[in-house]
């Protein structure tokens, strides 16, 4: 019966480990998956070799996370194993693309990291940062009906799809790339624009409060440039004066030069109440 065998092997891969000599554990595993007697006898006999499949499948999944979250996993150390075990038991993968495993793992792990005093507080931001790099590198870009013309105060601004705004409580983006480094990041609230260049490189731009407010309003809320400028000023806690307007013009011009800003577009939605939510990926 393929159904029972399929269920049993998935349980073997994702479920709790059963020791080779644990006859009661093996019997319970076969029973809860409805394996019929003749198959159960064969699976019990071949159990040591069957466990190879647990090792192979979990090895593939672990490697996918190691490739995308190398610094997070290094700093998590032996704790990773228990998180990984629990993740596979509670939320087995559902995507055909291995790269989707990373956001799935983080949606499981990050809320738990926050409540786990063994996990350094900055690791949540570092994990988000590593995952964001993979996400932005592979975001699909859609054709845009933008107008490559001078921006207008009463219209929205269109950015490339491969751009995200993120807020961190720790300056994890300044950490060394060395995967085995244990340097602790500075505790500092930062906002970043993360985008993919036309050459497919992921670039980071650290934003001050005004720029962060302005871009959050434009990129996340799709409001008009006039409203976004006001929101930027509100976030910076300053009046919208000539100096801020000059800074905004310089920033938007720089983003156009870098290929992140495409042109103007009509506002996509009615103006939201102020302030517009600060955008982040992942919890």
């Amino acid at each position: 019966m393929q159904a029972a065998i399929e269920s049993a092997l998935a349980d073997l891969v994702f479920g709790p480990e059963i020791a080779q000599g644990d006859a009661a554990g093996i019997a319970s595993w076969l029973a809860r998956n409805g394996v019929q007697e003749a198959d159960a006898r064969a699976l019990s006999r071949d159990f040591p070799r069957l466990q190879l499949y647990r090792r192979l499948a979990r090895g593939n999944l672990q490697k996918a996370l190691e490739d995308t979250l190398p610094r997070t996993l290094f700093r998590l150390g032996p704790l990773f194993e228990s998180y990984f075990d629990e993740f596979l038991r509670v939320m087995p993968p559902v995507s055909h693309c291995l790269r989707d495993l990373t956001p799935s793992f983080l949606s499981f792990a990050l809320p738990r990291f926050r409540g786990d005093e063994r996990v350094p507080a900055y690791l949540v931001d570092l994990a988000r940062h590593e995952a964001l790099q993979v996400e932005v590198a592979s975001l699909l870009g859609q054709q845009k009906s933008h107008v490559a013309a001078e921006l207008s105060l009463d219209e929205g601004v269109l950015f490339i799809d491969a751009a995200r705004l993120v807020d961190y409580e720790w300056a994890v983006h300044r950490l060394p790339e060395d995967e085995s480094s244990n340097v602790v990041p500075e505790r500092l609230a930062v906002s970043l624009l993360v985008y993919r260049s036309p050459e497919h490189e992921v670039r980071y731009l650290e934003l001050g409060p005004f720029a962060a407010g302005l871009l959050a309003a434009l990129l996340t809320c799709g409001v008009s440039l006039r409203t976004a400028l006001s929101q930027g000023a509100l976030r910076a806690g300053r009046p919208l004066d000539d100096e801020l307007l000059t800074r905004a013009a310089r920033l938007l011009s720089e983003l156009a030069t870098r290929g992140a800003l495409l042109g103007k577009s009509p506002p996509a939605s009615p103006e939201p109440p102020i302030p517009c939510p600060r955008s982040t990926i992942l919890p």
Partner: protein
């Protein structure tokens, strides 16, 4: 100009013109392929799962490679033997990718790799049973039209048969190909590994397969564990007995594309191309013998 008759259209050749030795395209040497001189390979093969719904560098690089080399596609997660029907969203995305890449056929493994909604990301063996023959054959019949091109099934390695078998592995494969129009992607290393692990004769096994359905051959390296079990690692050079079995097989199939698979401990591109050259030499000698047999039998 002659107009093809309706029977010509129905009887599209199962065996395409593509031949020679190709290489699995891996990210470790992608830039070298893009920026370096022309590689002496007949084609590159990719796994669509690595490109589905993806933007950025990798699909863009693949697009550039496709301008210079033929591309074959080899899936990893279809799960043709799983209880649950193959995931519709996955099939749609796959169809889009195949339409973009235009491979002459698409292949995946004779296994299950999903359980319900969960994707295992490993090739798990099917029980050799008539129930599974019927399920796989029915899906293989549908896949040709769903994917818009011929579909090929690859024989996998299995380290243990899951449960009590009703059939031998060879009977299992024979019945699937009897009951479906699927093409065969014959992995010679997998045949060898299974023969050692399960005590069968690899030549008798291959001789029992419908070799006229073979559209492609895969070869790869394997590792011998301390307990004697052979593991299909794709992480070492191809073992000599596998090269001999490849040669023996090519004498019987005639010209088909051969793929060198290397997924782990991927060496420098130059080393892989040297292995491709060895395979090319073996193929040419085997195909010369195939041509001689053919000429003398006519």
């Amino acid at each position: 100009m002659t107009t093809p008759s309706s029977s010509d259209l129905r009887e599209r050749p199962a065996r395409p013109r593509l031949s020679g030795v190709g290489l699995g395209l891996r990210w470790e040497f992608l830039e070298e392929v893009l920026d370096g001189p022309e590689c002496p390979v007949a084609f590159f093969e990719v796994s669509p799962e690595n490109y589905l719904g993806r933007g950025g560098y990798y699909p863009s690089a693949l697009e550039r490679i496709r301008e210079r080399y033929p591309i074959l596609t080899h899936g990893l997660t279809l799960s043709i033997g799983g209880i649950r029907e193959p995931d519709r969203a996955y099939l749609n995305a796959l169809h889009t990718e195949l339409t973009r890449l235009e491979p002459p056929w698409h292949s995946d493994h004779l296994c299950f790799s999903s359980a319900g909604a969960h994707v295992l990301h490993e090739l798990l063996p099917l029980q050799f049973s008539d129930e599974n023959v019927r399920r796989v054959a029915a899906r293989a019949r549908r896949l040709e039209s769903e994917l818009g091109r011929p579909f090929a099934l690859e024989n996998i390695t299995y380290y243990v048969h899951p449960g009590q078998p009703e059939l031998t592995e060879l009977e299992f494969l024979q019945r699937i190909f009897e009951q479906s129009p699927a093409r065969l992607l014959l992995d010679v290393n997998n045949v060898f590994v299974n023969s050692k692990n399960h005590g069968t004769d690899p030549r008798a096994f291959i001789a029992g397969l419908p070799l006229e359905r073979v559209v492609e051959i895969h070869v790869a390296g394997h590792r011998v564990q301390a307990d004697g079990l052979l593991l299909d690692t794709h992480g070492e050079r191809i073992a000599d007995p596998v090269l001999e079995l490849l040669s023996w097989t090519l004498e019987r199939t005639g010209p088909v594309p051969i793929l060198l698979e290397r997924d782990n401990d991927v060496p420098a591109l130059g080393e892989l191309l040297a292995e491709v050259a060895v395979l090319e030499g073996i193929a040419q000698r085997a195909l010369a013998r195939h041509a001689e047999h053919h000429a003398s039998s006519h």
